[in-house]
């Protein structure tokens, strides 16, 4: 109970500076731009390395099939 009360008090205490964050506190287009660019920058490396991994997997499978048909 004591710990919960202290946590709530702490959150109330930091809430005011937290709204200085450009994403949380900024309105409208600014906030949306930050969210969009965060999603874009996070997705880009995942997409690229996923594509590379898929290509390598395909090449390995192709090579295995060729090896299995060789005499």
């Amino acid at each position: 109970m004591m710990r919960r009360s202290l946590s709530v008090l702490w959150l109330l205490g930091i809430s005011s500076p937290a709204w200085a964050c450009a994403v949380c506190g900024g309105g409208g287009q600014n906030r949306q731009a930050f969210i969009d660019t965060m999603v874009f920058m996070s997705a880009m490396p995942l997409a690229m390395f996923g594509g590379i991994a898929a290509t390598i997997w395909y090449l390995v499978r192709q090579a295995s099939e060729l090896e299995s048909t060789e005499p």
């Binding site: 287009q29 731009a33 874009f40 920058m41 490396p45 590379i52 390598i56 090449l59």
Partner: protein, 202 residues
């Protein structure tokens, strides 16, 4: 009668060492990693540009008092660059069948790419004269940073293609080197329409 043992290790008689062909040539792997890092570089540029645009005073973009970008002439320039990409693709097809026959489309790709860079340069001269500079506004600084970085990559790719063309003429161009060079050019070509959309049309 005991069955003959199939040789599976180098200790077994009759074992044959077989050299496996590499799945991806080293040049191609290196170029893939280079392109991945450059894509992240441009992603960062575009992200910063998007945030600056969203924070424009009064949501007015481009900012007032700055010259407008030449959208129509750059659209023509974009087509020239895409044609260059098509030429290098055709050169790749010809190279597989008969290497010397790839010379003409290869040279066409280099010429078209050089035209793109020269025309972009002439547009820059006009924009600088009209007052859009690196320090005139955030619009100007982002424009020259993004488009300038692409131009640097285009120039380096053209120099790479010229080197590969020289090797093709001498008959010493390997398919791995040609693939890697073509990948670099495809990166430059296909990145540009995205930059045109975000910077010129955005």
């Amino acid at each position: 009668m005991a069955e003959a043992k199939v040789p599976t290790t180098s200790m077994d008689p009759g074992f044959r060492h077989r050299r496996r062909k590499a799945l991806l040539p080293d040049a191609v792997i290196g170029m893939i990693f280079f392109i991945v890092t450059e894509v992240m570089l441009f992603s960062g540029f575009i992200s910063g540009f998007s945030i600056i645009k969203a924070n424009a005073p009064g949501n007015v973009w481009p900012p007032p008092g700055q010259p407008r970008l030449p959208i129509e002439s750059t659209a023509v320039n974009t087509l020239i660059l895409l044609l260059s990409g098509a030429a290098i693709f055709y050169a790749g097809r010809r190279f597989k069948e008969d290497a010397p026959s790839a010379a003409r489309p290869f040279l066409l790709a280099v010429v078209l790419g050089s035209m793109f860079v020269i025309l972009q340069g002439s547009e820059w001269v006009a924009l600088l004269r009209d007052g859009l500079t690196m320090t005139s506004s955030s619009y100007g600084s982002f424009f020259y940073m993004i488009v300038g970085s692409h131009a640097v990559h285009a120039v380096c790719a053209i120099l790479t293609l010229l080197y590969l063309f020289a090797r093709l003429q001498r008959g010493t161009l390997s398919s791995e080197a040609f693939i890697a060079g073509r990948m670099f050019w495809y990166f430059v070509v296909f990145l540009w329409p995205f930059l045109y959309w975000k910077v010129y049309l955005g």
